[in-house]
Symmetry: C2
Subunit: 146 residues, 2 copies
């Protein structure tokens, strides 16, 4: 995986405890346990038109976990030294993205709902939106990559 990223497999509880049998899926995520940070912010993205690409930024400090709760979306994660494309299409598949990783989200299915759990409150000063400036900072940060 790209540095400062990893996949997290969450529990997927297929409730069958009712007399009627199957009751659906329940995925629980405990902060600072199933994910490595406290959840200070969440956001979700939906109804993204076909062909749209979102993201185009990195964060100095923020940690996030991305999960696609309905439909599917592909996330490009990259540093100046590495690049990967991760398809999110399962309730219990989380993509952890740490500091200094560039991300772009694309191929949203029409019914896609992308949930993002974030370690900090919104802070525009933590965003790096200029790609050349990101590359300069990230080259120093990753010191040639792993």
């Amino acid at each position: 995986m790209v540095s400062n990223t990893r996949l997290i497999e969450f529990k997927d509880i297929k409730n069958t405890e009712s007399r009627d049998g199957y009751m659906g899926h329940l995925v629980p995520i405990e902060a600072e346990s199933d994910i490595p940070f406290a959840i200070n912010r969440i956001y979700y993205i939906a109804d993204v038109p076909e062909g749209q690409v979102r993201g185009f930024h990195s964060h100095n400090d923020l940690e996030q976990v991305l999960i696609c709760l309905h439909g599917s979306v592909t996330v490009k994660i990259s540093t100046p030294f590495e690049e990967e494309h991760i398809v999110l299409d399962r309730l219990n598949k989380g993509l952890y993205i740490g500091p200094m990783v560039w991300r772009e989200m694309y191929d949203f299915s029409q019914d896609a709902v992308l949930l993002v759990l974030a370690s900090k409150h919104y802070d525009e000063a933590d965003y790096i939106r200029d790609y050349p400036a990101y590359c300069r900072q990230a080259e120093g940060y990753f010191k040639g990559g792993e």
Copy 2:
């Protein structure tokens, strides 16, 4: 509204900043600000078969916010003195449920995804699952209702 419950209207950011115009919806929720508690746990429920009813419990202490991120679901909230049925069917409509409120979730649409934000980590001891026991406790707690 039933005691210890209320509706919360979240911001719904319809991103139009791209050169292509509309980019979809983004709903941000800041912990301890847009909702009145720290998020120590989240869970989501999906793929619930038609006719299933979930919930059937109350909590001694836990605070939760329920949001339907796709499709729709109806939540019955009640105390021994009050009862209400809330349809959740919008990205930015949250249902806050505080302590000692009985809840049942039903009428899940086939594509429904219900997200729950919770103030505490999972603790089975905080659940009240026996309805007669719940009623006895809740009658004392709400002292005759409002």
